[in-house]
């Protein structure tokens, strides 16, 4: 941060994928998977969740990843986050990534919301003061009252999403990755999140990658859309055109050639 932060250029590259593929190995059973560690002769089926993805995202861009369930959006986001490793190809990520992947978003269900905030702050390596500031900000934004001091396993999905988003957004990310988690919140909270995302983007030149099925959300936040289909990038361009392409007049009954792709 110290070296990059001195002279931020508008054309800095935040994320670069070079011919990235992700293969999942499907074994017949866990037993075969176990034996597969020790022997190369154990057979498995290959499933490509992403194949030959190549793109660059510049600093400050906001990109919507669009596609049906199983198109490979989540796998792509997980690779950006660094949770999942590509099978082949090269990924470059410049900057601190804050990710909100699915609902649980990396919470310990046994710890309270407040303790989870502290834990996350510690994992990020923040100082005591910074953690206290983070806690204050998250408590204020999530706005779930006394539940903040209850174990997170007692939370509703909406509450988890609130705390999860609040943490991801408050941690001063350079790259913010948001999976479909926000779709569970009510309308008021979604609008609050949209406002927060826009605020982050404007103030701090943050790159945002956003998965959504909602046209309104995508259009209001993003200026670029990437359409994924069966693990491949089939369209990459301005958000309006991407959405039109995705919702376009294609007959969904016609199967596309290629192997069956499943999402993680």
């Amino acid at each position: 941060m110290t070296t990059e932060g001195t002279a931020p250029k508008a054309d800095d590259i935040a994320i670069e994928f070079k011919n990235v593929s992700k293969r999942y190995k499907l074994y017949r059973s866990d037993k075969h998977r176990f034996l597969g560690i020790f022997s190369k002769r154990i057979g498995f089926k290959e499933v490509y969740a992403n194949s030959h993805l190549s793109f660059t995202i510049k600093r400050g861009e906001s990109v919507a990843a669009i596609g049906k369930n199983g198109a490979g959006k989540s796998t792509m986001l997980k690779m950006i986050t660094g949770v999942v490793f590509p099978t082949t190809g090269q990924i470059t990520v410049n900057g601190r990534v804050s990710a909100l992947l699915e609902l649980t978003a990396g919470f310990d269900p046994e710890l309270t919301g407040r303790e989870n905030i502290t834990l996350r702050g510690q994992i990020w390596g923040l100082s005591k003061d910074a953690i206290a500031a983070l806690e204050k900000e998250v408590v204020e934004f999530a706005d779930i009252g006394d539940y903040m001091d209850q174990p997170m396993r007692t939370y509703s999905s909406g509450m988890k999403a609130r705390v999860g988003f609040a943490i991801s957004a408050s941690i001063n990310p350079e790259i913010l990755v948001v999976d479909e988690a926000l779709s569970v919140g009510d309308k008021a909270f979604r609008e609050k999140c949209d406002r927060k995302i826009r605020e982050i983007m404007e103030k701090e030149n943050v790159t945002v990658i956003f998965v959504t099925h909602s046209r309104a959300a995508a259009e209001s936040i993003c200026n670029r859309g990437m359409v994924l289909e069966k693990g491949r990038l089939v369209f990459d361009g301005p958000i309006k055109e991407a959405l039109d392409y995705y919702e376009g007049p294609r007959d969904p009954a016609v199967p596309t050639a290629g192997a069956a792709i499943t999402d993680a």
Partner: protein, 287 residues
Amino acid sequence: MADAKPDISAVFAARVERYGGTLFGIVEEHKQFWKQIFQLAAADLVKTYRGSALGWLWALIKPSVTIFVYWFAFAIGLRASKSVNGFPFSLWLIAGILPWFYISEMLTQGTTTLKRYSYLVTKIKFPVSTIATFVSLSKFYVHLALSAIVIVIFIVFGYPVDVYYLQLPLYMALMFAFFTVWSMFAAPLSAISKDFANVVSSFVMAIFWMSGVMWDVNQIKIPWLSRLLLFNPVTFIATGYRNVFIYKRWFFQDSFALMAFGVTFTAMVLLTLFTYHRLRRDIADVL
């Protein structure tokens, strides 16, 4: 295929480079994350003992009950309670079983760490190898507390702290190192295969009785068998704790035991590097 044999030394060099890189990666993760490891260990400890009315006392109650049960079975039931080196049987039992509480926790819970902390693997970018370390550290804190209590018990029984206690930190460190590496080895395997976790948990009792926790390995009359048993790290550690508390022997007096532990430890490290190298990138895919 057979006639195009690759040069053995080249293959060996490639292996050294590959697993050396894995080792370097693990060390690097620990160097960058040492502060967090202590914080996460504290959080793990709090989590383990919270939510029950007796809380922290459970860390004491469980070992006390275990010691009482074994003492009862042996001293009262089997009348096998002869004093050892001037120490009553009960103290001999306590000295050897003290490390077992940590070891059994690491054998069972140390094997399932990645499952319990799956959110650190699949939801955020996290140095996965450190999970074994902070869980092990959390169990080790409890072990330190128990050790302090055992030392007090010995003093109360009229056996003051002597120079042999100096080697207690050494045995503690060796135990911590071995079973932390064990957890790094076992946790990815059990994340992939339920069978593995089941095998381990069903062998815990067997390991307990086959290791020199409840008997003295040096009393075995078949020389090759007693030597073979020393390759079992549990035997080495339990005997080591008794060297400190009961036998009043130095660790370097039994160089064979030290060598045997060294061999097992090295094998464990190599095995861990092998599996960790193969599985690190796949763990998030299967959890």
